[in-house]
């Protein structure tokens, strides 16, 4: 044999890191470094002749005055961005409430009761994943126009037409829920699917009613799935700006994402935009961290 086992093993040992290297390098150069660039711009203290911030690549040059302004303008009630943050929180909250109210029954039925139609229902629930998000919003813009099908249908039952697409919070919240529900249902489906049917049958055999079986068995066992689904949908919802622009387009419904897009792509104050990105990431990281603690606690309980 040409290769001695020892040389062979050494080559193998080097092979796996070598395979992982290009991808790791790519992610460092185009994911980690860009995030550092956000900080370098957010903490920049100098501007160039176009009034644009000069990024401070050296942490020793970081100045926190503009980021401090972003924070105080976000958290004090009279601050310039306070309203936008509050609105983001409220919209995300109500959209999540709608997601739970619609998504839980749908996921439950699909996972546990759909029987032989399960494959079909699952396919139909997954279908929106592969329909472009902008297309799904465009579809609603068609329907919600002043002379669209929704107003025509309302007219049939005698309700006067409503202007849905000009700065209505109601439309934005429902559009967010509509947009993200497919992403909410699937993780929940996976966790409901894993519940052992025998536990539910045992509960029923012991004479427990359907509602109590649900609150004592199904809900606790699907809690982590529910939390996962909420995190998976809340993170992108909180950073969403396109839904809002498409179905409302009014500054009265602006969310944080709209503010970030405005500062980064349409104005010179990129340090403010970068500061908002940083703040949004910190807020979302806080929730992610809490979620990770929850999952770890859950897996520890499961191991016990």
């Amino acid at each position: 044999m040409p290769d001695k086992p020892s040389g062979h093993d050494r080559a193998t040992r080097r092979l796996w890191p070598a395979l992982a290297l290009p991808g790791t390098f790519w992610l460092i150069a185009l994911f980690v470094v860009p995030f550092y660039a956000v900080m370098a711009v957010a903490f920049s203290g100098r501007i160039n002749i176009f009034n644009e911030p000069i990024p401070a690549w050296n942490p020793l040059d970081w100045e926190f005055s503009s980021f401090g302004t972003v924070i105080s303008d976000s958290f004090t009630p009279s601050g310039a961005y306070h309203e936008v943050w509050v609105r983001t929180a409220i919209y995300t909250f109500w959209a999540l409430v709608i997601c739970v109210a619609i998504g839980y029954p749908v996921a439950y039925y699909t996972a546990r009761l759909a029987g032989r139609r399960r494959g079909l229902i699952l396919a139909l629930i997954l279908a929106p994943w592969w329909i472009n998000y902008i297309t799904r919003m465009l579809a609603w813009v068609n329907l919600l126009q002043d002379d669209g099908y929704v107003n025509k249908a309302l007219g049939l039952v005698g309700i006067p037409p409503h202007s849905w697409l000009s700065g209505s919070s109601f439309t934005v919240v429902w559009a967010l829920a509509y947009g993200y529900l497919p992403y909410f249902i699937i993780p929940l489906f996976a966790s409901l699917d894993r519940i052992d049917q025998r536990l539910l049958e045992a509960s029923r055999d012991l004479g427990v009613g359907a509602l109590r079986t649900f609150s004592h068995i199904t809900l606790p066992l699907s809690r982590m799935g529910l939390v996962t689904a909420m995190v998976i949908t809340a993170l992108p919802m909180a950073g969403d700006y396109y839904t809002n622009t498409i179905v409302s387009g009014s500054p009265n419904t602006n969310m944080v994402g709209n503010q970030i897009e405005l500062f980064l792509l349409e104005g010179p104050q990129k340090n403010i935009g970068a500061g908002l990105v940083l703040l949004l990431s910190l807020v979302l990281m806080f929730f992610m961290f809490y979620y990770l603690i929850l999952t770890q606690r859950a897996s520890r309980e499961a191991a016990r």
Partner: protein, 304 residues
């Protein structure tokens, strides 16, 4: 004899059936949940179907049906294939999608092999980094990439090169997740057997591991293509100037500006593109199902 026995059976079963009110009967059919599920499915898909219907409208309206026509697809003034910006956007999307597949798939497959088989502290860190893009809101990824291209990587201009790098960055993580789940289910035994029979590591990968991974590799390539076609946020931050517009960007910019059914036609073409990619992926994964593994749809659901 049977005639005399039948009433006896009815006597026994009838009282039981009447004693249990329907809401206490655990075996009743779940009509309420079934209704919610089907109403949800209709709500999630019918608007898109109506949007597709209006792409065939014989008139300029997107809310009043005026008869069937193919004029918004081809060969008429203002149709998708005659409107320069729409045709251009379609071409841009297609080129970007294919280029992303070509770069991201090998990168992700190598990364998955490396990270799965290489066990060390460094690989654990690389593992962590590679999954973060999956949970990072797109607006954070998009704005971070935008800031790094504008401020640090000056040699990569905004436009096609920057968009390609951005799309590959979020796609690598998809490939990684899909290929790794397959790698873990294959286990290391086949490569070990190949090496015991005298193959070196590279030969083992090429002749044993890659063929076994092929369905997952192909499926992830198709999913990368579909997600690249559908991406809006990263593209919007990086596209630079109008000649690099992709279909989602064009849809987003045009949807509020009194568009014609040609916009619906463009959205429908995009939809067909990503569904074709998805169906190809499902067909290949279905081949796996015959070998006794879980259904392709449920695999997809698990990746979610």
């Amino acid at each position: 004899m049977t005639v005399t026995e039948r009433p006896a059976v009815a006597e026994v079963s009838a009282p039981i059936r009447t004693r249990v009110p329907p809401w206490r009967n655990p075996w009743r059919r779940p009509y309420v949940l079934a209704t919610i599920t089907w109403v949800y499915i209709l709500w999630s898909l019918v608007p898109v179907l109506i949007a597709i219907q209006f792409s065939f409208n014989d008139g300029r309206s997107r809310s009043t049906w005026q008869g069937f026509s193919r004029q918004w697809y081809c060969c008429n003034e203002g149709s998708v294939f005659e409107d320069p910006s729409m045709f251009h956007a379609l071409r841009n999307s297609l080129i970007l999608g294919i280029a992303t597949v070509i770069v991201a798939t090998p990168l992700g497959v190598a990364l998955a092999m490396g990270l799965t088989r290489w066990r060390s502290r460094a690989s654990a860190v690389a593992n962590g980094i590679s999954l973060v893009p999956l949970v990072t809101p797109e607006i954070v990824v998009g704005s971070a990439l935008y800031l790094v291209f504008v401020n640090l990587y000056h040699f990569i201009p905004l436009g096609r090169p920057a968009m390609l790098l951005g799309h590959v960055t979020f796609s690598v993580s998809y490939v990684l997740v899909i290929v790794r789940s397959r790698l873990l289910s294959i286990g290391g035994e086949y490569e070990e057997a190949a090496r015991d029979l005298g193959a070196n590591s590279l030969q083992a990968i090429r002749t044993i591991l890659l063929p076994l991974l092929m369905p997952a590799v192909f499926a992830s390539a198709m999913i990368v293509f579909a997600t690249s076609l559908d991406d809006f946020v990263v593209s919007q931050f990086l596209f630079g100037s109008a000649e690099n517009e992709t279909v989602p960007i064009l849809l987003y910019n045009a949807v509020r500006a009194a568009p014609t059914p040609a916009l619906n036609a463009l959205a429908s073409i995009l939809l067909v593109g990503s569904f074709l990619a998805l169906i190809l992926a499902l067909v290949v994964l279905r081949g796996r199902r015959r070998t006794g593994e879980e259904s392709a749809l449920e695999t997809l659901a698990d990746w979610g």
